[in-house]
Structures are given as C-alpha cells and as structure tokens.
C-alpha cells in the first residue's frame, strides 16, 4: 500500500511503459530530446476501485495513495489533510482534501488543510494544469480517505475487543452500534497511526448515496475568510528578515541579450542598493530565465524607479524582425497550401473537388497574454548548497527540479513552498521567475523577492500561440457536408523546448483538430509548418481556443449558406450517438487519458447541445439588434455547450445580456466551483474575443498594461451567466472543469453577432470590426 514512487527504484519499469508527453513539463521526453526526468509508473492497481482508468500514473512521479502522507490527526481531533496541488482559483485546495474528509468520515469543520511543498516523490505529481486535478485524484483521494477510516475503525475495534466489522466511522468518531460505544477521532489518533495501512483488496469505498459533501456544493473554499480580510498569502506577500526587493529589465526581444549597461543613474535613486546582470539562457531553453539587468532595492517601488533609470544597450538577436502583420500573412500563405496530414478519413481532396459547393473560412486568433492579476513573483533564500523558494507556482515539483538543476544542487536541497496563486491560467506552470529569484539570492547572499511588473508580464511571458485555421467544407446538392479539410497553422509550444520545432505537438493537434467529432465521410486535418519567434506557452484551454472558434464558426456558416438552424446543423454534423473512431490518427493524445475511459462520446456531446438549447431558450425571440449564437466543444475530456445572447446598438457597441452554458464533466466534487469556473470562463472568453491581442513589431511586444491589452471589466461583463451541470451517470469518470469553459464562448458570441447583424467575424479580436 505504502508504495513510494522513488524514480530511482522505477527504472526497471520504464521500458514497459509507453512514454507519453502528458505532462506539460515533461514535453522534452515526448519530443525525443534528452532530458533528465523521472518517468512515473503505475503505483496502484486502480481497477479494484473504479470502473475507469486515468492517465494519472503516466504523469511524472505518478500517484501516491499513502494516508500517512496526506492525513494527520491531532489528539484534540483536528484532522489535517494535505493539499498537494496549486490553488489558483479553481478551488482544488478545498476540493481534494474534501474528498479525503468525505471518505474518512471527518467533519469538515474540524479539518485543516496544509499546503504541500514541492515534493513529488512524497506526494505524487503536482503539476496543476491540464484541468486534471479532480480527474486524476478523485479516486486516489477517496482511497486515502478510506484507508484512514479503516485504520481508525481497526484501532477502535481493538480497544473495545470487538471485530472490526462491527464498528463504523461516522462524523469524526467511531461507533460500535451493538454496545452504543463511541470514540472520537482525536482519541484514536495515536492507536490508528500504529495500524498498518490496509491493502487495496480490503478497502471499501462509501456508497455515493451516503455522501455528505461530494457533489453537494455547500462548502466554501478554505481560504474564503482570509481572502476577504487580506490575510491570504500570495507569492508577493512573503516577507523575510533582510529581504531584498528586485525587479529585472529583460531583453525586449526573445533571445536577445544585454550588450552593455550603465547603472549610474539607477544607483542614485533613493532606496536602490545594487545593480547587477542576471544570467540568461539562449532561446529556447524551456523555462530558464531570459536574463537582463536586476535592480536591488529596499522596497519594490525603489527597484522599479531604479530600473526606469537604467541605460541598457540590447543585442536583439535572431527574432528582432518579428512583425505580427507580416507573420499573419505568412500563416495565411501556409494555410492555403497542403501541409502534414495528421488525420485522414476517406478522400477529402477528391470530395472537395466533386462537391456541389465549397465553403471556405479562414479564422485568425492572435497571441494572448495571461495577465493573471498577480504577475509572476517569487522569493528565494539560498544558503550554501540549500535553497528555499516561496512562489505561486502551478508546478511545485517541476520548480524544485528546475531550480535544483540551475543551481547545480540535489533536488532534496531545494524546498519549494507553494503560496496561493493570484491566478495562473498556465503562465505559472513555467517557473522562470522562481529561478531568477534563486540566482539573485545566491549572488547576493540574502533572501530576494523578484517582482514582475505588469509590463514585464505582458512583454516577457509565454504567450498563447498565434494561429490561422482554414476550413473548407464541401457540400453535395442536398446541402449535406461530404468533405471537411481543416488546416491548422500555429507556432508550437514545443518551440519553447526545442529549437526549430515547426509542427504542432500531439497535445496541440489533439485540442480540437484531430479529435474532430463530426460524422463526415471525407475528413482531413493538416498541419503546415510555422516557426516561432517568441516564447509560446500554455494559456487556459490552449489550442482549443482557435480550434473551437474555427470549427464552430464554420458550422454556423454552413447553416447560414444552407438556410438551416445552427443548432440543427450542429447536431447533424455531430451525427449519430457513437464513440468516435480515431484509429486513423497516429497519436490521438486524448488529454493523456486512456481512450477506453474517456472516448469521444457524441451522445454526451449531443446532450449538452440539447440541454443548453432547452434551458437556454434556443430559438426564443429577441429584441431588434440582439442575436443568439451557439457552440459546443469537447476539451479536457469534458463536454460543454454555450449559448450567447448579444445586443449590438446602432453604433456597433456590443453587450452580452445573457450566457447559458451546459457542462458534462462526469462525476464531480463541488458544483458551486464548477459554476464559478464557467462564469469566469465566459468573461475570459469575452475578453479574448473582444480585445485580446498581443502584437509584435521589430521583435518587441507592443502592449504593456491593461490600457493597451484590455480585459473585460464589470460594466461590460455578461449580465447573467447560467450554468447547467449534467448529472453524472454511475461510474462516469470525472473530467476537466478549469479550462473547457473558455473555447465555446468566442464562437457562440461570434455566431450571435452574425445572427444579430449578418456580419461574420473571422478574425479575433472583434476590436472595431462592428463599428464599420
């Protein structure tokens, strides 16, 4: 039971494992480039517990299910449960411990949550990304809780000298019904700790009908009170004795470096203590820092003022000519020529030639920046060959490995304390800011906080890619779609790991391209080449954003051309209820999940369309200037459909009176947090559709703050977002929630604008396109 996933002990397993680049940080391995990371092996026999298998065991360091690692009970009865994933707003720091509490019959009011430091050997994988925490950890957390419960019951039974089968844990105590005896968890703690951890075979999970917390949604997040009184601690809130405050001037062009600098004026700024160069790595270098010049001061304000006074001459390097206007033209050119075929069914080329009508759409989505409200920030304290980090990182274990490697010390010498994250959205999966703090602390021999300003965040991040999706749909005389050719061109995230990567990786192709669920006889997906000129990274929902925008816009375009109702058109294209056969795809990826547990189930896809159409009043009459649009998309193995109502006045001003979203995310833990994620996804979707655009000129990002990279504010946010959650069937595996709400929003909005105005927008952001 107590199986630790020490990678050193697992080498023998490796050759039996199919290597999959399911982890965002282990992508190097998947790309076939030498890298020193540990592969995970299955650490438990899951089938004993559930009718489904997940990709959890394939993540670095897999899963640890030892209750002694995750649960401790104090003599006063307070149960402490470890939260080992990063809290960035999804509620995971509450929901995973809640699962443990549910199974062990702990009373939530007597549970405290303790944040795990980065230690994947001890806790299992900690990469909080890919909308996978609940889907990978629902069962392991239940198992941990059930083990703890069983140990408490065994201890009570021994004390009373009765068979363990006669006692039962219930609400923080163990009860012997026959004699009416009761004993609290606190009193049993010491004895229970001496019990051996039960094997899987003997464990019994609770019957879901007895759940007190799971699926109920009445539990607020554990940090709720602290957040409202200003006591919640984010990365920026760490204070240490002797702490130095640093900001860094980084090369304005990706891959650039410092040629020379003059610190004289900066040193004159009150509070500035030191100016020094920071080591940078040649691009691409995964998550290593960009380098630059750091200003160290007694407070952040002085450091920023000092940085403003720096005079730096930069060497821009190879990307100094990156220009978004020219780059877009190159994407369009590439998309109009054949590219690498990544899925082929039937003969789309021939069918398009023989089609009665071909509808072509080219859909453009520019670079996007994450702009989490808390910009990247980290505190590091390096003492000799030891390093302690405090940072808002999505990948605590990965941060530990990368910092250790950079400093040339063993992983065990690095402690990564995970603070709350003031938003993540994929940006904080990359730990460059923590490495910067570690380098500076080592250099200065003092604890250092590196604070990124908003401008740093916008200009030096790991941007969402820029993409051109070209779809050609061939129709026969009756208007039936007989051919579909989808070319997707975008610089790949792989380019951040390996120089010269020009094709999208399986995990990008698998986000709405090769996993197209439509029932079309001749279907082809292609991926022409695109070179990257800046750091490309994961942004909430990743490639699903442009793909859903393109595919779901095209559906509405076909509906319009054939005078069909868009919802009916959508259902016709999805076709019969079935499990989509992806056998023609070399690597279907499927979000790292086994297809047997998580197939593309068109019955579920149809169901969310029908549910949102029903609840959201599809087809209702709306006032003049208003319009309804619909879109559906499967991502992160969840199914989501959205209807957006727009209102556009005679000046082209766009407002959103109402949003309706239906989600099928399988078995779930906290419906209240699902609703909040979907409400937020609508606003992020509206932000990117209406305003989201990062552009480059002369290799430099042209935006810097919320004035030129605006996001939606309250006065433009949807008046109301309704969320409908599909009740899970028995044993329906849990699936993603954090990301999948985003992709269907933009196409539903754009389709609604078409319904209201007859104007078809194929290029995001909307910007001033409605004003013309």
């Amino acid at each position: 039971m107590n199986i630790l996933t020490n990678p050193k002990k697992l080498r023998g397993f490796e050759r039996h494992l199919k290597v999959e680049n399911v982890s965002r940080r282990s992508i190097l391995k998947g790309l076939g480039i030498a890298g020193g990371f540990a592969l995970a092996a299955p650490v438990m026999s899951r089938p004993a517990f559930a009718a489904y298998e997940t990709g959890a065991s394939k993540m670095p360091h897999g899963t640890v299910v030892d209750p002694r690692v995750f649960v401790s009970i104090a003599p006063d009865g307070i149960v402490t449960i470890v939260g080992h994933r990063a809290e960035m707003g999804t509620g995971v720091r509450t929901s995973l411990p809640l699962i443990v509490a549910e199974e062990m019959e702990a009373d939530w009011s007597r549970v405290r949550v303790q944040q795990a430091p980065g230690d994947e050997v001890k806790y299992g994988n900690q990469d909080t990304d890919g909308s996978r925490s609940t889907r990978h950890y629902l069962m392991p957390m239940r198992q941990i809780g059930a083990s703890a419960r069983s140990m408490l019951e065994a201890a009570a039974a021994k004390r009373w000298g009765v068979p363990a089968t006669e006692v039962k844990a219930r609400n923080h105590e163990v009860v012997h019904a026959a004699s009416g005896r009761k004993i609290g968890f606190g009193e049993l703690a010491a004895d229970a700790a001496r019990e051996s951890v039960p094997g899987i075979e003997g464990l019994k999970l609770k019957d879901p009908k007895d759940f007190r917390y799971l699926g109920k949604g009445q539990i607020g997040i554990v940090d709720l009170r602290d957040i409202t009184v200003g006591k919640a601690h984010y990365g920026a809130d760490i204070r240490l004795p002797g702490l130095k405050y640093a900001v860094i001037a980084r090369p304005p062009v990706t891959g650039g470096k410092v040629k020379s600098f003059d610190a004289a004026e900066a040193m004159k700024v009150s509070g500035v203590e030191k100016v020094l160069e920071v080591k940078g790595w040649p691009w691409p270098s995964k998550f290593q820092p960009l380098g630059g010049v750091a200003v160290i001061a007694r407070n952040t304000g002085a450091a920023i003022k000092g940085r403003d006074a720096l005079k730096i001459v930069w060497d821009d390097g190879a990307n100094g000519k990156y220009d978004s206007v020219a780059y877009r033209a190159s994407l369009e050119e590439a998309a109009r020529k054949p590219g690498l075929v990544v899925r082929k069914e039937g003969d789309a080329d021939a069918a398009l030639k023989s089609a009665d009508k071909v509808i072509t759409g080219e859909y453009y989505v520019p670079h996007l920046a994450h702009v989490s409200m808390e910009p990247p920030v980290a505190v590091a304290d390096v003492k000799g060959d030891k390093c302690e980090i405090w940072a808002p990182v999505q990948s605590a274990g990965g941060t530990r490995e990368d910092v250790a490697k950079t400093l040339g010390i063993p992983d065990a010498n690095v402690t990564v304390n995970v603070t709350l994250l003031g938003g993540g959205f994929g940006r904080k999966s990359k730990c460059d800011f923590a490495i910067e703090a570690a380098l500076l602390s080592k250099e200065l021999g003092a604890p250092v906080k590196v604070q990124w300003t908003r401008e740093d965040d916008v200009r030096h991040g790991f941007l969402h890619t820029v993409s051109l999706e070209r779809i050609e749909a061939g129709l026969d005389k009756s208007g039936k779609v007989i051919a579909w050719r989808h070319r997707s061109v975008a610089p790949t995230i792989a380019s951040t790991f390996a120089a010269g990567a020009k094709h999208e990786a399986p995990f990008e192709l698998g986000m709405g391209l090769i996993d197209n669920p439509f029932e079309i006889a001749n279907l082809q997906c292609e991926n022409p080449e695109a070179a990257a000129h800046t750091r490309i990274g994961w942004f909430r929902a990743v490639s699903n954003i442009p793909r859903a925008f393109a595919v779901q816009s095209m559906v509405a375009e076909i509906a319009s051309a054939t005078k069909r109702d868009p919802k009916d058109m959508l259902l016709e294209l999805i076709g019969s209820p079935r499990l989509v056969n992806l056998s023609s795809v070399k690597d279907p990826w499927n979000y790292g999940e086994p297809y047997s547990s998580y197939p593309i189930d068109t019955a579920r896809l149809r169901k969310v369309v029908e549910l949102v159409a029903d609840k959201g009043g599809w087809g209702r009459s709306v006032p003049k200037g208003h319009g309804l649009g619909i879109a559906v998309h499967r991502s992160f193995v969840s199914y989501i459909a959205t209807i957006v109502e727009v209102a556009i006045d005679d000046k082209g001003k766009l407002t959103v009176p109402r949003v309706d979203t239906a989600i099928d995310c399988g078995t779930y833990v906290n419906p209240e947090r699902i609703e909040s994620q979907i409400e937020g996804a609508a606003i992020m979707g509206l932000s990117l559709a209406k305003y989201g655009e990062i552009t480059f000129k002369d290799g430099k990002v042209q935006q810097g703050n919320f004035d030129d990279f605006p996001v939606i504010r309250m006065d433009e946010s949807p008046l109301v977002t309704h969320v409908y959650i599909v009740p899970p069937g028995p044993d329906t595996p849990p699936s993603g929630v954090g990301e999948p709400g985003v992709p269907p929003f933009a196409p539903a909005l754009i389709n609604a604008i078409f319904a209201a105005t007859g104007k078809r927008i194929r290029s995001l952001p909307i910007g001033k396109q409605l004003e013309a």
Binding site: V229, N299, F425, R454, E672, F706, M714
Partner: protein, 150 residues
C-alpha cells in the same frame, strides 16, 4: 519625515517622498492585503480608502497622504465583518482571490457614498476593478447584498 495614519496607527517615512503608497504599505509597513496589479491605476487591486474615497495606492505617493488617515483592507472592520466582507463570504465570490481586497474596498467606498446603489450603479462604480478570474457576477450581487444589510 512624513507622518501617515494607517488604520489608526501612525507610521513614519523618511525615504523617497515619491514612493507609491502601495509599496510603502506592502514592503515598509508590512500590510500586504493591498495588492499590486498594474501600477497605473488601471486595475484597482491596490484600492484603499482615504476620507471615504476609494484611492489607488499605486499612483498615490506617500507625500500625497501626509497627515491623512488611510484605511486598508486590514483596517476596514475590526473583526473582518464589514457588510461587504460578509456578503462576499455568503456568496462565495472569490476564485483566486488576489484582486478581491481591492474589490471589497471599492465596494465599501461605494456604499459609503451611495448606501443603496442600483445594479447599474454598482456595475459602473466597480468597473475600475479588474478580476481576471471573472467573478463579476458575484461581486455585483455581493455589493448589492451588502447594501441590503447582511
């Protein structure tokens, strides 16, 4: 020497008088509930209250507030039970929570000025505060709930 009263307590500053109040609060005084989000009064994460007015601490210098009373989230209510804070908890408003102290301060300032704002007035008054997680629907409802007495 600049003297500023923060949450009723006098604080002294003999450094750069132009230092933004935000960094004075966070790095020098140690009140970290006031957050940095943009540095240009574009996002409202650093909102504090001075003379019943919501003020962006990132573009306000320490010298600007010499001799004034500054209230931060830590001083909004002695036990953290201001009606806006209570409404926030009742409606489970936050996601990541980072911008929420600024939102709460803005909401509290709004209610000082207009105890019974309409939904439109709330949407307008809160439009200077960005929430990237997108909690706006709940923020709007929480400010409204607070105005009805929690």
């Amino acid at each position: 020497m600049i003297k500023v009263k923060i949450n009723g307590q006098e604080q002294n500053w003999d450094g750069d008088p132009d230092l933004p109040l935000l960094w004075f609060l966070r790095d020098e005084v140690g009140l970290t509930g006031t957050k940095y989000g943009c540095g240009q009064a574009l996002c409202g994460s650093c909102t504090v209250i001075i003379d019943k007015q919501a003020v962006r601490a990132c573009i306000t210098s320490v010298s600007d507030v010499a001799g004034r009373d500054v209230t931060t989230i830590e001083g909004l209510h002695p036990t953290g039970d201001h009606p806006v804070q209570k409404a926030w908890r009742q409606l489970n408003v936050p996601q990541c929570g980072y911008c929420q102290t600024g939102q709460i301060m803005q909401g509290a300032a709004l209610l000082m000025d207009n105890p019974k704002p309409s939904h439109d007035q709330i949407r307008e008054a809160m439009a200077g505060n960005i929430c990237r997680c997108g909690c706006y629907q709940r923020i709007e409802n929480a400010v409204h709930l607070a105005s009805t007495g929690v």
